[in-house]
């Protein structure tokens, strides 16, 4: 555990250093403009990518543990979509001017989507991949429709703004965004650490966990609640960035293969590194334009997803 944490911590620090050093403007000390770019634009952006990456990976591994399914991810389940639909509707109707409204509505959207997943999962002990994927597919279609309708109805009529919610970006990241997500992530990590010993017992099924003294209902409510709220926060500041919650736990299990207690901190570190590097690439691959980061993570994530699907029961 110590060794794995150290490796991932070094990876994260290296990613952040690269993310800060590289960009369309080269940073030199002593230059006033360069310093402004560094502290006002690039640094918050890199740190936000790290915090959002950690958040999505933690949400992913929590959903996977709760649903006993390695294919679960906030995006695939439709939870990110729910949050984005809420956030997009709030923005389109001019509520973005009031601070805190957009994230609050994003939380509501995320929780609504989670309730739909929860209701499906309640009916059966082992939510089979087909049902999971189908419900995610239709939820995402529904939420995309809400996003597009919101923007075509609003006076802004701004399709790029809609795309922003659907593809994700860290463009325009602020320290306020960083603080919002970071605080919620820290709270979530503490809460999840409290129930980690119980959560990992769900791997063997709910009956088994109950027989070992786990209060399954309570653990599920807390787990689903925490994962939805942090997903809502991440989406509210950066839009939908898919597959992070799928990729990161999967990669970490490939190397270390351990239970939830072990995966939780490692996924946070791994997710942070992944998004810092992805964001860096999306900025520098084509000079003077930015690729949408959600498209980038989808390119990375889909092959993994298909290979997991092939192997799943």
């Amino acid at each position: 555990m110590k060794k794995a944490t150290l490796i991932l911590l070094i990876l994260l620090l290296a990613s952040i250093a690269l993310g800060i050093a590289l960009g369309s403007t080269s940073i030199t000390w002593g230059d006033e403009t360069a310093r402004t770019i560094l502290f006002r634009i690039r640094l918050p952006r890199v740190i936000l990518a790290a915090v959002v990456g950690a958040t999505l990976a933690v949400a992913g591994v929590t959903f996977q543990t709760l649903l006993r399914n390695p294919l679960a991810d906030p995006f695939i389940l439709g939870v990110s979509g729910g949050a984005a639909a809420g956030a997009a509707a709030a923005t389109a109707f001019g509520l973005a001017a009031h601070r805190g409204v957009v994230p609050a509505i994003a939380f509501i959207g995320a929780c609504a989507a989670t309730l739909a997943v929860f209701a499906l999962a309640q009916r059966r002990e082992h939510l089979d991949p087909t049902r999971l994927l189908l419900s995610g597919l239709v939820l995402n279609a529904f939420f995309s429709a809400i996003i597009l309708i919101s923007f075509s109805m609003s006076s802004a009529n701004d399709v790029t703004a809609a795309l922003r919610w659907m593809m994700g970006t860290f463009f325009g990241a602020s320290w306020n965004d960083v603080v919002l997500v970071a605080v919620l992530l820290l709270i979530a990590l503490v809460v999840l650490a409290f129930i980690a010993n119980d959560l990992r017992m769900l791997a063997f099924g709910e009956d088994d966990a109950r027989s070992r003294g786990v209060d399954v209902e309570r653990v599920k409510w807390i787990g689903f609640g925490v994962a939805s709220i942090i997903t809502g926060a991440a989406v509210a500041v950066s839009g939908i960035i898919g597959f992070v919650g799928l990729l990161v736990p999967h990669l970490i299990r490939l190397v270390w293969r351990r239970d939830f207690r072990f995966l939780l901190p490692l996924c946070a570190l791994g997710g942070a590194s992944l998004l810092v590097l992805s964001d860096l690439l999306s900025r520098i691959v084509i000079p003077s334009t930015e690729l949408p980061i959600g498209a980038f993570t989808a390119l990375l994530g889909v092959p993994f997803f298909l290979s997991l699907l092939r192997r799943s029961r």
């Binding site: 996977q64 543990t65 006993r68 399914n69 390695p70 002990e125 082992h126 650490a193 409290f194 010993n197 990992r200 017992m201 791997a203 063997f204 099924g205 009956d207 088994d208 109950r210 027989s211 070992r212 003294g213 786990v214 209060d215 299990r253 293969r257 351990r258 239970d259 207690r261």
Partner: protein
């Protein structure tokens, strides 16, 4: 050390699975829970394992009502193996068995030396010490069953409840596993209750047979009493004769 169900009923929605069942599991007994599919065997074990709360009636262990037992403390005394307990993610045998120590861990604790020793000892008892670092999905059905029994034993329970442990095992492993249960009872004087729909194997090594039918205890007696042609004809509609204590079709 007696686990007792007193007038226990349980329903899944409309369907009544257990109807007014009174039965007590005593120490130093290997008890077979026999009966057709859907007769209430699994439900009875789940209620004893605290997976379900009975809709009426009372369960007690050591004379104390189940709801007065703290959940973790009860789990240290009563171990349960469900029919399906495949982990959702790849795991090595040692990790599976170590998770059986969970009721002994405090909130933030990781398994320590004593837990690892208990897990290894449990694997040895189950003749599975060589599987310690193997992954579950690389094992045969018999090996997996032994690892899961070791997981229950790692918690050193006084009452062990096993739901269909012999199902999906080939005949050599059925015998090996049945003998293992016998040895565990003889060595530790604990209680082992196992559900099985195979009458012959249920009877082979057990001290006592409880036959379930339609959610009720139809017969609670010795294997010799149960394994008679007229009894199985009456209880199971199985036309059989007995040869060397073994039921064969007539």
């Amino acid at each position: 050390m007696t686990l007792a169900l007193n007038g226990v009923s349980y329903s899944y929605g409309e369907k009544e699975a257990l109807a007014n069942v009174t039965v007590a599991f005593e120490p130093n007994q290997l008890i077979a829970l026999a009966g057709a599919n859907g007769s209430g065997k699994s439900t009875l074990l789940k209620i004893a394992a605290r997976v379900h709360q009975p809709s009426s009636g009372m369960v007690s262990y050591e004379g104390r009502a189940l709801r007065e037992w703290p959940a973790k403390e009860y789990a240290r005394s009563v171990g349960y193996l469900p029919q399906e307990a495949e982990p959702a993610f790849p795991m090595r045998a040692i990790e599976v068995v170590l998770s059986g120590r969970a009721p002994f861990l405090s909130r933030f604790a990781w398994e320590g030396e004593s837990d690892i020793a208990a897990a290894k000892h449990a694997l040895e008892i189950c003749d599975a010490a060589h599987l310690v670092d193997r992954y579950l999905d690389e094992m045969s059905g018999g090996e997996r069953k032994r690892v899961f029994l070791a997981r229950v034993l790692a918690g050193t329970p006084r009452v062990i409840l096993l739901d269909e442990p012999l199902a999906a095992l080939d005949i050599a492993h059925v015998q090996q596993f049945s003998r293992l249960l016998r040895e565990i009872v003889d060595r530790t004087r604990c209680t082992v209750v196992f559900a099985s729909h195979d009458l012959n194997w249920a009877a082979a090594y057990s001290d006592r047979m409880i036959v379930m039918r339609d959610g009720k205890v139809a017969l609670d007696s010795t294997p010799a009493e149960v394994m008679r042609a007229e009894v199985v004809g009456e209880l199971f509609g199985f036309e059989a004769r007995v040869a060397d204590g073994w039921l064969v079709p007539r």
